[in-house]
């Protein structure tokens, strides 16, 4: 009995010794992504290459109609052209609300039409909330906002395969602070090319 005990102690001690000396690398843990195929767009978030369109004539991007075409003569991606409505990519919401307000309809529609005429472009729509309330409910509320934007863009012609609506909830606030100004800024969906 005692012998067994001592033996076990020795083994345990050896184990402990090993434990205390193992140096662990800080590399990212292995991630087995079982569903990569069904969510492959998740990782590639932002501004990809500019569109490969080269047909150039009118470098005129009017604010109203420029949205429907990416074929600008300039090398500037229309979504990054400050004179183009597509450069506006944030939609703001009221507290606890998720409907796209009237003032953002034309903006959302412009992005939907742009995607419709540029099938190689993709967007992530990121929903956000202000800091009040629970993490998970806010995540769902942000999702609902992103989804409202996604649906409106789908009505304007964007395909489902071009869009992914996701949510950051209250976890990645653009504005810090706990006042109405910060909260307003954070009740937002961003269209990210």
């Amino acid at each position: 009995m005692n012998g067994v005990k001592i033996l076990i102690s020795v083994i345990a001690f050896a184990l402990l010794g090993a434990c205390s000396t193992v140096k662990l690398t800080d590399k990212a843990p292995p991630v087995e992504d079982r569903n990569a195929s069904s969510a492959s767009s998740g990782g590639s978030s932002s501004s990809g290459s500019s569109p490969s369109t080269s047909a150039g004539s009118s470098g005129n991007t009017s604010k109203s109609s420029g949205a429907s075409s990416a074929s600008s003569a300039s090398a500037v991606d229309p979504v990054n052209d400050p004179s183009n409505i597509l450069s506006k990519r944030s939609i703001y919401f009221d507290y606890d609300q998720y409907t796209v307000k009237e003032e953002y309809r034309s903006l959302v529609e412009a992005h939907g039409k742009f995607l419709a005429s540029n099938p190689d472009r993709k967007v992530i729509i990121q929903g956000n909330t202000d800091e009040r309330g629970g993490s998970e409910y806010n995540l769902a509320l942000g999702q609902k906002r992103a989804e409202a934007v996604r649906r409106a863009m789908a009505l304007a012609g964007a395909r489902d395969s071009q869009m992914e609506a996701i949510s950051f909830g209250k976890e990645k606030p653009k504005a810090s602070g706990s006042d109405e100004a910060a909260w307003m800024e954070n009740r937002r969906a961003d269209i990210v090319y």
Binding site: S9, A12, Y137, E147
Partner: protein, 431 residues
């Protein structure tokens, strides 16, 4: 004869714990330590004198200090500190301890042999003049805190009839600057280490029923993805990484499946999935938001948050769907359901007059009580003995964890020195 079994049991525990710590990197002492503060005390506390243990090899009364802190924090004891040495053998001067106001006396001996520390202790009832237990355990020095918590658990159970909650662990998310850490700590906030760290947010940790794994939501793929991580090996797999947001993991009581919230079909809906990511099933939903699933202890019922009624409320349904019933009716914002281990109590966050506070509802009677003051409390989580609820709170602009007894009688906070602490999850019993 009472010695052998706890000794052996604890010894095995120590080995298991070693494997665990070996697979992880400990936090440097510069990082946040949690600190306990007593904010309130309940009535009917048991006065217990804790004498100095004989022959304390560290000479710093660490073991008795941990036991005293555990019992004091529970709200059920009033600890009477004493410089008197009380040994685990021999007679006890009942009249002396009664004159000090003690109903119970804890004494013992610490000794060191073969590099391990042995704790022998005796719990004595001074009012009846009988020794309630005389027991002991051995621990390697690095597990001395766990050993002390186990002694406190034993004292707690013998004097209250309730299983002690001290030798358990908690998970939570700590943030320092732009670093998010999923940390695992002892129930008193000590011995913290990071199971996962990242520059993107982490939310919603959930313990597997056997305490070996934690499910959580990480944003490291620039969107919410549900992972299950084995603590001992740090191996993790993405259990749900579908189009849209993936969140709110909750373990089935048998540890085989997770209930999760997915937005792959547009609306946020509850699904269940095997813990390896296979066999995904959608639980038929009704509203645009159905999230925060939580299994009843028998696994038959899911509690969840739904905005079907026009505001977020807690509902219940069979785990495979079917008829659903609304559970909360007071207030226009009730979220984050947590079920007590006996299935009788529902805890949740309710917003009343702009304040987010912890509530508890006795399901059989419908009796609702408020347990916290807010203004921004979140994420209630039951202790495995069902007598305490840990939640995230905020005061002075700092996020910390707090614990309240389910009767509201006692409360304490675990204060981080350096970082914001949120998203607590109290782990299971591990014996």
């Amino acid at each position: 004869m009472t010695m052998a079994s706890p000794e052996k049991r604890f010894f095995l525990q120590s080995v298991a714990a070693c494997g665990l710590i070996g697979g992880l990197y400990p936090l440097s002492t510069a990082l946040a330590q949690l600190r306990v503060e007593i904010a309130g005390v309940g009535a009917n506390q048991i006065p217990i004198a804790i004498g100095q243990f004989w022959d304390d090899p560290a000479g710093n009364n660490q073991v008795t200090a941990i036991i005293a802190a555990d019992l004091q924090r529970s709200g059920l004891f009033r600890v009477i500190p004493s410089n008197d040495l009380v040994r685990e053998t021999g007679t006890v001067d009942d009249a002396f301890w009664k004159s000090k106001g003690a109903d119970a006396v804890l004494g013992g001996t610490l000794s060191r042999a073969d590099g391990r520390i042995e704790i022998r202790y005796r719990l004595h009832d001074a009012t009846k003049g009988v020794t309630l237990t005389s027991s002991g355990l051995k621990a390697n020095p690095q597990f001395i805190r766990l050993a002390a918590h186990r002694v406190a658990d034993d004292i707690f159970e013998r004097l209250t009839g309730i299983r002690g909650p001290f030798a358990t662990r908690i998970a939570y998310v700590a943030r320092s600057g732009n670093e998010y850490r999923l940390e695992i700590a002892d129930s008193d906030g000590e011995n913290a280490f990071a199971a996962f760290r990242d520059s993107e947010p982490v939310i919603s940790p959930a313990w597997s029923p056997d305490g070996t794994k934690v499910a959580y939501v990480s944003f490291n793929l620039k969107k919410p993805v549900v992972y299950v991580q084995e603590l001992a090996t740090r191996q993790r797999i993405a259990v749900a990484n579908f189009k849209g947001s993936n969140s709110a993991p909750a373990w089935s009581p048998d540890g085989r499946r997770l209930a999760i919230a997915l937005a792959r079909d547009g609306a946020t809906q509850i699904h269940t999935v095997n813990v390896d990511g296979t066999d995904l099933r959608r639980v038929p939903g009704r509203a645009d938001i159905e999230t925060e699933p939580c299994f009843s202890p028998d696994g038959q019922t899911l509690y969840f948050t739904s905005d079907y009624s026009g505001s977020p409320q807690i509902w219940r349904m069979n785990a495979d769907g079917g008829e659903r019933r609304r559970v909360t009716f007071n207030g226009s914002y009730n979220i984050s359901p947590a079920i007590s281990p006996d299935g009788k109590l529902l805890s949740y966050i309710s917003r009343r007059e702009g304040r987010f506070q912890v509530y508890v509802l006795e399901l059989a009677s419908g009796q609702e009580s408020r347990l916290s003051d807010g203004p921004r409390d979140e994420s209630p989580s039951f202790a495995p003995n069902g007598r305490y609820i840990m939640y995230a709170s905020e005061s002075g602009g700092r996020a910390h964890l707090a614990v309240v007894s389910v009767d509201g009688g006692s409360r304490y906070t675990l204060n981080a020195r350096a970082s914001a602490i949120r998203e607590p999850a109290w782990g299971p019993f591990t014996r």
